[in-house]
Symmetry: C2
Subunit: 382 residues, 2 copies
């Protein structure tokens, strides 16, 4: 084969690869999440990676013994280990995925930060935190970059509403087990929202909040999903449980103390150890009103990692994951896992969601699991 023919072959092969990967990416974008044959659906939540430039970006708040060799690559290694250990069905990055101030190139930082998720071939999604836009890309630019990445199910915004605040407000449906009555029903609903960065309203200091446009979208989406769930096939009386993921905790996270939460609260920020917005924008009320969401998962406060239950809704932190993020030396970086389990129907096949459990894993030698708890179970009601 002459050089020319070889070149043509290489070009054709490259083109084929490009098209295949594009088709594959398209398939993956449209891929329907569903419960596996064991009747489980598991989500790994990664909060606050604060990724910058990889091996040249040093760790914050680690023990003196760790300092010399600790970089962003420790964050990468932790994701890889978590994926292998948990084999989740979905990975959710809840914002401050990159730390824009220290990043030379936001796109490159994201490519490196999400690389382990992409390499795993597990679907993944991300929402924005308050630091993601501090580099070379705007919030819109960051979210657009994410949406274009491989294996992600992230979306820029809902297509049906063109006036919505923020970037990265979307929902995903998780279907029942293939071949059962629930295969075409969403038995678990995932809501992702952009909780913003900083207040743009002069008299209000501090962090941003979830706006009426976003709440209105959430409310309508929840109502639509509930209507569908209550129709045939296999019409249900109760709504399918929902989970909401975003970055900044709600003011209601301040409702708990060690007597009624599982985990720790050790943030110094804010008067009550919670760095929510300084005002209440009502999203907790909207969540309670919608009636389907059983748990909210946020990040933002790296050294809070608790779950507490208020008016039937679990408010959970994941705890800080990333090494180039403030933390507490000697207090391991960690990740939160959620698993939803289906019940068996009278016919012996998989039905709808029976329980929602959670635990965390620490980035230590054994990825120690801690704080396992049942967040919701069908039989005990809310």
């Amino acid at each position: 084969m002459g050089i020319d023919n070889l070149m043509i072959l290489v070009v054709l092969l490259s083109l084929f690869c490009l098209i295949s990967s594009s088709v594959l990416a398209q398939q993956q974008q449209n891929q329907k999440l569903r419960f596996d044959e064991n009747g489980e659906f598991k989500i790994l939540q990664v909060a606050d990676m604060h990724y910058a430039n990889g091996k040249t970006t040093l760790c914050l708040d680690v023990l003196p013994s760790q300092k010399a060799y600790c970089t962003d690559l420790n964050t990468t290694a932790f994701i890889q280990r978590m994926i292998i250990a948990e084999k989740p069905n979905l990975i959710v990055f809840t914002g401050d995925n990159i730390f824009g101030f220290d990043s030379f190139d936001s796109a490159k930082s994201m490519n490196a930060a999400f690389a382990p998720a992409i390499a795993s071939n597990i679907p993944w999604v991300a929402v924005l935190g308050n630091h993601d836009q501090e580099g070379s890309l705007s919030r819109e630019g960051v979210m657009k970059h994410i949406v274009g990445m491989k294996n992600t199910l992230s979306k820029l915004n809902p297509p049906e509403i063109h006036i919505i605040d923020g970037f990265g407000n979307y929902n995903l449906e998780v279907g029942g087990v293939e071949g059962t009555d629930f295969e075409n029903k969403s038995v678990l609903n995932l809501y992702f929202l952009d909780s913003g960065d900083y207040s743009k309203v002069l008299p209000i200091p501090g962090y941003d909040w979830i706006k009426p446009s976003q709440q209105f979208w959430f409310q309508r989406t929840s109502a639509k999903l509930q209507r569908a769930y209550k129709k045939g096939p296999a019409p249900q009386k109760e709504p399918a449980p929902g989970l909401a993921y975003f970055h900044i905790p709600l003011p209601e996270y301040a409702s708990f103390d060690s007597s009624n939460f599982t985990g720790v609260k050790q943030e110094g920020n804010g008067s009550d150890g919670i760095s929510s917005a300084s005002v209440n924008s009502g999203f907790f009320t909207t969540l309670v009103g919608a009636g389907d969401v059983k748990a909210v998962f946020t990040g933002h406060d790296h050294i809070n990692d608790f779950c507490g239950k208020l008016t039937g809704i679990n408010l959970c932190y994941a705890g800080g994951f990333g090494y180039h993020a403030y933390g507490k030396a000697g207090w391991s970086r960690r990740a939160r896992v959620m698993v939803a389990s289906l019940e068996k129907t009278v016919k012996g096949s998989w039905g709808n969601v029976k329980s929602i459990k959670t635990w965390k894993r620490l980035d230590d030698q054994h990825l120690t699991g801690i704080d396992g708890e049942v967040l919701w179970s069908k039989n005990s009601g809310a």
Copy 2:
């Protein structure tokens, strides 16, 4: 003239009267509110009339000496006296206009309750409280009846949004003085909202709240008005001030005590003397975010009558007006007045709003005015 001809004349005259009054009503419905030639626009707020059946409906919580002769007609007389004393440009009824439980016929109760306003030929509007629907009409029925009454500028709901919670969410524009640069600009914006009745959400007890759909509508309306105000003719840098009227106070009304409000707080209901919803639905945050509303006027708590200022927004009660409503014997029924005043332009004509003042009047022999204060003035900013 024969009997037949007389009958025809009567029918024709009746028809003419009907058409004339219909055209007049139509004109009044479309009438544009505007500042008068003295550069003022005055609103009389009537909170919690609790009207039932007129002269057979007795008063609550009055002095023993008043009891024998006190009925709904005392409420009627108080409105008449207030209208004569203040000659307002608009009368706003902020809910619990009728007390449905005791009313034999909701429509008749409303006809009697609003009769003094109608007779005055002054434009008037109403919103719903939590008791209006307890009689023979639903909330929708009550609001539809109101919208069909004479001289009212009340509306059922905004035409552009067909999915909005409640009935009686609308806004009114108040134009500048005729013949000035501001004659076709809304220099004062009035927002009216349905704050609901009781929570429909099982785990949340107590009163209802303003929903995301209503907040979204408010936010978009405010933004649209602000854009128009900043355009020519006479383009303005700051938004025109806005006022919001509804029934149930916001949770933020609990932020004040006698050290930082004008008036009194003496309700026993609620842990902090405020009968707001038990949850925060974020409307205060939405109001602050919009940036134009300078004062909120509610009723609901009959024996609270204060105004307090939080993050640039005055939160005001009117104090109870109606005699068939709980109150405090010896503590006069009262009404709140708001007057907005225009500034003079360099050319010597009337410009935009310079100040917003308020006071209350007591239903005593002299309609004593109390608690006069400046809520907002242009030069001092927020």
